[in-house]
Symmetry: C2
Subunit: 199 residues, 2 copies
């Protein structure tokens, strides 16, 4: 009886496994939930069961969806011929929040990683190539993270796409909006200087 019943301890252990949470914050969350047990906690449990039950991956792009095709793939207005390749659904959400991209996505679900034994087949890169061949695309934008893993994966995909003849682009690198040079790392300042543009 250190931390409530077995069920409460199991709940704390499950919540402590979520990203950004640990045993201490999980205890706080569970206590806050139990305090609101008839309101928020019951609602949250129902909502979570509902989302777990209804979510699946879009068969075309890998986005989270409630039907075979996600709303973006199902929307004919987004057949612009531009395909944006992202690592993760979180990146897709970030791009959608920015409201600047009007085309469709392809979610890799990770990056190439020799250590984790994730090769091109595990990332579904053959499936991406087949998609580029099948849909009449004008441009593939590799919006992968500016990390070593992301850029290695972007290079691999760019090479693999050469035979298809599609235009392949990547996100610009430089000073972020609101960024102060004094606080930026050398790599970012170097990239921004190399990619300088006429004003």
């Amino acid at each position: 009886m250190a931390e409530g019943s077995d069920a409460i301890q199991a709940l704390i252990a499950q919540i402590a496994r979520l990203p950004g949470l640990g045993p201490r914050s999980a205890r706080r969350v569970v206590l806050a939930l139990i305090r609101r047990r008839t309101g928020q906690m019951a609602q949250l449990a129902a909502l979570m069961a509902d989302v777990a039950d209804r979510s699946c991956a879009c068969i075309r792009c890998g986005n989270i969806s409630e039907s075979e095709l996600c709303p973006i793939c199902a929307d004919p207005a987004r057949a612009t011929g531009e395909l944006c390749v992202v690592e993760d659904v979180a990146d897709l959400w970030a791009l959608e929040r920015a409201r600047v991209f009007k085309g469709r996505y392809h979610v890799l679900g990770g990056t190439l990683s020799a250590l984790d034994e994730i090769g091109p087949d595990e990332l579904g890169i053959p499936r991406l190539l087949a998609r580029v061949e099948a849909e009449s695309l004008s441009e593939v934008i590799l919006a992968l993270n500016a990390t070593i893993e992301g850029q290695t994966t972007a290079h691999y995909i760019a090479e693999a796409l050469v035979p298809t003849g599609v235009a392949v682009t990547g996100l610009a690198q430089g000073v972020p909006i609101g960024g102060e040079l004094d606080y930026l790392d050398d790599g970012t300042i170097g990239a921004a200087l190399r990619a300088r543009r006429a004003l």
Copy 2:
């Protein structure tokens, strides 16, 4: 379609309301859950519904319980005559983890607060006094937080307990185990010096 379906957005909004979480961390949590939707997510939803359904407050001490009396109040071995008054169930759990207190608890559920209109009646202090009178207690330990609110509440309760004749104690204040004087605040150093003891 910025962040998935309406259900996913509702789930993110609910999780963002939990203590220590915000919109960004809630998005990360929800994406991690959806990735494990058939395993952890379904389990967590079921566990949460179960805990929400079964939890109630112990009618005697206010601890979280699955029955009328919590396991501590129901355990005759814990009728030591010592009653430990805490602000919150989190504090009760912290004391139980320390495994040093063998008596029973009384959970106030907060502190006196003129701003939030929480007076003695809202905190159930009359109920605490009745309990002290009814059970033959030898000591009441006021284990409230060492904050202004906690100490104000402790003073109020100590005064109210004078007529019952029970011994009233509070936690010792001083240097925490592993604490370095250089990093401690003036108040703690002052308290530790005033309460110095012979070695």
